[in-house]
Symmetry: D2
Subunit: 337 residues, 4 copies
């Protein structure tokens, strides 16, 4: 931590800063610049920099350590690769996940999975517990939904991913689900993250609606600090002023996260745009930017979907998209199965 | 719902829209304007307007119903007043809550409560489970913290409020806490909101970091739909581009919420600004704007606080503030005990 | 315009709304729904919907006309194609513009142009008047800069684009520049836009830092209403909470604008990311999303650049990028010269 | 400037950073911490920190100087007080400005001024050149508007303020206007700011829609660096996700700016909220937070206003507000004439 003093800070001001730094268990060292002095707080500890900021004569307090450690590139230089059902995410591999927003019935899942299997999909998504803004909206089929999802996936030799909303759902998810999803609204549900740190299954951690990259990595750090390093980060759009799209898909997350962290990063163009006709161009863009995967909403009959039909592709659209991105991936040094 | 057609929409486009509206269980009625036709979807149902937006010839789809019902002014015209330990929030009453960010020890709580009781504080705050961005930061004393909080409050004839982070903590909170707090990060933890709908104690529901007023009221609607109408909304600052303050306190929330809803709204100037010297002016501003209360962080010795000391007032500062706002409140037709 | 009445609005409330609508020169027509009535204001006029919103019994006022007309897809269905020096922007054509942030000297421009001509660049960019946040920063070479830019471009058979900051610079820009650029900070400099409506040269209109798509199109409308339809929209990143990148490049602008408007849209990945190593992936992504062009900062020696060197590519990097995007373009049905 | 090296940075990395720092004309000095080394760049120069950020082994580059100098509290410790027509802004003085959004006619201005003079208003506002999002909206009366404004103000012994949009309007503004206004959209119209640095009249500089405090002070710095220190900063709301209010009035600007700068800061609650019934509570809040003044839109007959009637107070509302804030001001140590 660096405490930058005001131009007109007195010797007493600097003394006070040094005492405060030392009282927090750091070593203090002063460097004098042309107009400003800087006091270094040497040591590795969590502390609140605002305590120093409020002292007399202090211009600014700067943290020089990242808070994320295990998830950082400097902790592990090689890309983490996560493999599920033969599909790999990370390094040169780009994995694909597809399926409807919500599990609605056995028939709906089976028809959709059947179509998707023809486009080589090996991991099936489907929500059983739905986080809805309104208490009056469809809340998902619950455990019955997970059973349908698992059973359909088994029939089609697919693995399964679904969103967990609460610690209390952990046991039933362990029974049915291969990859856990943490939704944007739960990115900082720290109790849930701690529990996911104890399991031995991959976790897709979606970026919060207005989270910074650092906060996102800190949430991943919660999981990794618990012992589970199988984390896939998922960019799904952030909130901005623009309302023509449901969210603003921040594709620069891909190169930025790849520099900061060794974890794979995938993109959800369905929530990221909210409209079917924007999913295709943004999916291609994600692949061209080097994404380690996509998770795309596809429904066998989107017009009848109970949830988010408007952002779900028709199966034939997914197939077309699949063919396009298979061409783009090798141009950027990536491989799609 | 209103489906506005494009200027050049055909009769067939309109027919298709009508069929889609009817298939969703609404009645359809067409109105022709000078350049655009509008199809009304008449009925009260949850539906996804994007399904219609994607149809040919559709310019825009507009919802004309609010999603919040029980929490709206049109459901209940009179202000809800919530009373705890003789302190009232809502209508002409302005209630005050104060205390440290986190419960650290019996001694710390007792000293702080002692000082606050001299400024007429009747409701004590203190966090026992702390939502921290970093897994390596102080996470709170847990149930021991709640015990200390309750015991100290009893000694000083105070009621108690603390933040609940997870459904699993519900039982122990029922034992110790008079007012439940839901933090900004949990504003859309829908499982938690549903459970809080079943209890018979007041809930302070903080606004999410980037939530709209409507989303906030929808979260309150979850609690109220469950049967618990004792909800106090709390503005605590939103995320903006500006980083001189921790958050940007949106005081316009006060007049806006008062128009939309009958629920009381209080302000947290401590998280809303993040720096002690901004707490005093923003507290006064909140009262002048007509807030139904304040929740302020005060620590008997902020420089030694384990958490958020930088935004905690010294007890003498709180006392000064108390005297100022007691003068301002009557000017705006409010009453502070 | 649609005026949605409250559930409990009285006949008198509706009457008052009708009178207000008529006093503004619209025709009023009432439609009754199940719970709410809607009054249509029929006619095409500019008006402030808040006047109606403040009337008793009004729930919401909704505009159903776009404010942009000439720039909208419904005014002109075919893509506008703009051609400069054999390079085309729009429809199936993707045009490329490259060059340094600022004109620094003849030598710098000449070296850069020489390198770029080997990568087939036909339009050279370079700033002569620089909008700098600080009055103490390098403000550009002014007219001398434009002379250098023009002279170097002539030598290399290139056309020229540069940013105009003020109406007073119009005459000298007409002498030297083939494509005018309006920067993000001037997107709503309406006096400047009006003057650019009178010229007969193409204008690149950059999106403001926090502008919506509609505001952007409204600014284009100023130019087009003046008589100049040669407008190229340029997405250059918006301001969000994230500071790892200088701005957040919103690539969804591409499919959204293409749906709303017939104007071509290009992308500036240099300002959009602010860091050289993010320019390449985001450029590829822009092309994959269907952009009609790119404007990229390239400097013959970025480490010595007087301005924005950190976001400028080395010429060899640009060449590599050029080869990649030439491969991606045909996959999405576009053509790069 | 401080260049923080990565934990695993090599000696060569540090050497390279030192050479780069020295090549930019700074002196370099290395400080070794427990895990990270920090290289100080000592000297006062404008430079782009990203050049250093891109070097191998660099973790972060931190600026430790403010870019604003003349406008900073450390340049001048005492509050700047600006006086116009006996009304003072700054230090313990709170000045009030009122009037309609736009000058519409002599009669409208005269009626409004007459009413306002009864509430002791001494400075009249009114727009003659209006920055409108749409080219089809009322653009103001131009110079005729300024003439009316000046003539009416003279009759009522008032001073006059109006918004200048462009350098070309400077001469006519000098004839009629006592205080220049720079609107939010022109906060970074640097050519205009430079010209305003040369005049000897006060300038109200509004905060941009998404500007940081630092950018705002940098724009003031442009004016002050030109020689004109009579600057009044005006908070008028920033753009956020919330649309119930036109903008989000950021009242924390008041205490923050007062700490950073010696310049007076006033508040525009009319644009800051956009709705008449929010103007009153937010005006009171601004005064309670310590604002140095208000600029409020008042129209003798808001329902007939050509522009922004919905956010204009009726004269009797202004009078009521005036009486309330006169009571609040002394509680916070301020004085209203």
């Amino acid at each position: 931590m660096l405490v930058v003093m005001n131009t007109n800070a007195t010797e007493q001001d600097i003394e006070r800063v040094i005492r405060c730094i030392e009282s927090k268990g750091f070593e203090a060292r002063v460097c004098h610049g042309e107009t400003k002095s800087v006091v270094h707080a040497i040591g590795i500890k969590e502390t609140d920099k605002r305590d120093l900021k409020l002292l007399n004569g202090v211009f600014e307090v700067l943290k020089i350590s990242t808070n994320y450690r295990l998830t950082s590139r400097s902790f592990q230089n090689d890309d983490t690769v996560i493999e599920v059902n033969g599909i790999r995410f990370g390094d040169k591999y780009t994995g694909l996940i597809a399926g409807p927003c919500a599990v609605e019935s056995y028939e709906q899942m089976d028809k959709t999975a059947q179509e998707l299997s023809e486009s080589n999909v090996k991991i099936l998504r489907g929500g059983a517990f739905k986080p809805r803004t309104s208490p009056y909206a469809f809340q998902g089929l619950g455990e019955d939904g997970l059973k349908i999802l698992k059973s359909v996936a088994d029939n089609h030799n697919m693995a399964v991913t679904s969103e967990i909303m609460d610690v209390s759902q952990l046991d039933i998810f362990m029974k049915y689900v291969d990859i856990f999803q943490v939704g944007a609204r739960n990115m900082q549900n720290f109790n849930l993250l701690k529990e996911l740190g104890k399991i031995h299954k991959p976790v897709i951690l979606k970026r919060g609606l207005s989270s910074t990259f650092e906060e996102w990595l800190m949430s991943a750090e919660y999981i990794m600090a618990g012992g589970n390093g199988q984390i896939i980060l998922c960019e799904r759009g952030i909130r901005t002023f623009e309302h023509h799209t449901r969210n603003t898909l921040d594709l620069s997350a891909i190169p930025v996260i790849k520099k900061l962290s060794h974890l794979p990063i995938i993109v959800d163009p369905s929530h990221g745009t909210g409209l079917r006709d924007k999913v295709e161009p943004m999916s291609r863009a994600a692949i061209a930017a080097g994404a380690d995967g996509l998770i795309v909403e596809v429904h066998h009959s989107p017009d009848c979907a109970m949830c988010d039909g408007a952002q779900s592709l028709y199966p034939w659209q997914y197939d077309l998209l699949y063919k396009q991105i298979k061409q783009i991936a090798p141009i950027v040094g990536k491989e799609i199965v």
